[in-house]
């Protein structure tokens, strides 16, 4: 049986509402009305809310077919999709049943800017990269740009961490024809409580982890309590990576960060060699969060290659491989080789005299 879906309707005309990232309001493309999140939620009648709750309880995780509430079309979606657009009537649909129970996110960061602004930010980013071929990025070659909410685990952790190290201080001086070197040896110990805020880890195995984590961090102040209407107008994915799956990786990161933080408290020594470290997790708080990502696909006809970029849907940070102009690289090589040849010739000539 096809899964139940939800469409958030305009209270004025009944058309589907979409979330306008530029204005941070829900807008109706037909009657041009605008609403806040609370107004949208209140507009849903109690009967509709009960229907949605019943659909969540009756949800069968094995079913990948859903029915568009606007036009009745049967659409197939992969098991991780929780929001999409109906291919027939192009209305946004939210698969409410897939975001229930333990799969319901705790937090969300809404998109901070719209598609046109995303494209503009992307081209501004590319313009600053000197080695990208000048005529490479043309707006017409942008194949696809899509706003997608990706699942992340956002974790706060408190640890009791310590390091043990050996350090040296070296001092030299001369007396006549003799040069003296004094080496002092120290045993270093540091221990303290460290609070880690918003350690963010991608929670979807099908996604390219580096592409998603390359656009971090998101500002924690932008996190809001999860609310379904924010998904309207965008695609969204649900997590398939649990807390236990990433605990070891997260612990490894915490160990490295703890050492860096405690090393920074050690004064200036000539050498510092950490031979022991330990980080004990005291407590942690996990939030399953949906974070906004613009995914941009760019087709380079000349090289016959497709480039994929991810962009932080709140800060605009971009991640992805950039093409490099061979001519500009050759110019860099020539300039560096020429300048340094002259410089090193003078240095060697001076030393040999």
């Amino acid at each position: 049986m096809p899964e139940q879906t939800a469409i958030y309707e305009c209270p004025n005309c009944g058309a589907a509402l979409t979330f306008n990232a530029a204005e941070q309001l829900f807008t109706c493309d037909f009657c041009l009305s605008k609403f806040s999140r609370d107004e949208v939620l209140n507009a849903n009648s109690r009967e509709k809310m009960r229907e949605q709750e019943a659909a969540e309880e009756a949800f069968n995780a094995q079913m990948n077919e859903y029915e568009c509430k606007q036009c009745g079309a049967h659409i197939i979606a992969d098991e991780n999709t929780v929001a999409s657009t109906c291919a027939y009537c192009h209305n946004p649909v939210v698969l409410v049943g897939r975001l229930s129970g333990e799969m319901k996110p705790q937090k969300i960061i809404p998109f901070g800017y719209d598609k046109a602004a995303a494209e503009e930010k992307f081209f501004q980013f590319v313009k600053k990269k000197w080695f990208v071929p000048k005529a490479f990025f043309v707006k017409e070659q942008v194949e696809k740009i899509a706003g997608i909410y990706y699942p992340f685990w956002v974790t706060d952790v408190n640890t009791d961490s310590k390091i043990q190290a050996r350090a040296t201080k070296v001092r030299t001086w001369r007396n006549g024809s003799r040069e003296y070197t004094e080496t002092s040896y120290y045993e270093i110990y540091r221990r303290g409580k460290i609070h880690f805020e918003d350690l963010t880890t991608a929670a979807l195995s099908e996604a390219d982890k580096k592409m998603l984590e390359g656009i971090l961090p998101y500002p924690s102040a932008a996190l809001e309590e999860f609310s379904m209407p924010y998904l309207s107008g965008y695609a969204a994915k649900k997590r398939d990576i649990g807390q236990d799956d990433i605990k070891a990786e997260l612990k490894g990161r915490i160990d490295n960060y703890s050492e860096r933080i405690l090393r920074a408290t050690v004064g200036s020594y000539t050498t510092l060699n950490v031979y022991g470290r330990e980080s004990r997790v005291l407590n942690s708080h996990w939030d399953y969060s949906l974070l906004p990502v613009w995914v941009l696909t760019y087709r380079d006809e000349k090289r016959g290659k497709t480039y994929v970029y991810t962009m932080n849907g709140h800060t605009g940070k971009v991640h992805g491989e950039l093409p490099v102009s061979r001519w500009k690289l050759a110019a860099l090589f020539g300039a560096v080789a020429t300048v340094l040849t002259g410089l090193f010739t003078l240095i060697i000539g001076g030393l040999m005299q």
């Binding site: 350090a167 001369r174 004094e182 221990r191 609070h195 805020e197 971090l216 860099l332 300048v339 005299q353």
Partner: protein, 71 residues
């Protein structure tokens, strides 16, 4: 200053190595293959240091004679 062809060749060899390194750095930076996880420690962490000790263990002094022509 007397500059010989040998000096120029040595300088050129070192300069070419440096130029190759700079090209590799640019290619790696643009390919975004470095570890992408960016977690600003200053912004997102807070340390409450509870114990610290810098214990002096020992000192040793060595010496060497500097020959005249090395001055």
């Amino acid at each position: 200053m007397n500059i010989t062809p040998t000096m120029v060749l040595v300088a050129l060899a070192i300069a070419i190595v440096c130029a190759i390194i700079s090209v590799i750095v640019v290619i790696r930076k643009y390919s975004m293959k470095h570890d992408p996880v960016d977690y600003p420690l200053d912004q997102f962490t807070k340390l409450n240091l509870e114990e610290q000790s810098d214990l002096f263990i020992r000192k040793e002094v060595t010496s060497r004679v500097i020959s005249e022509d090395k001055k």
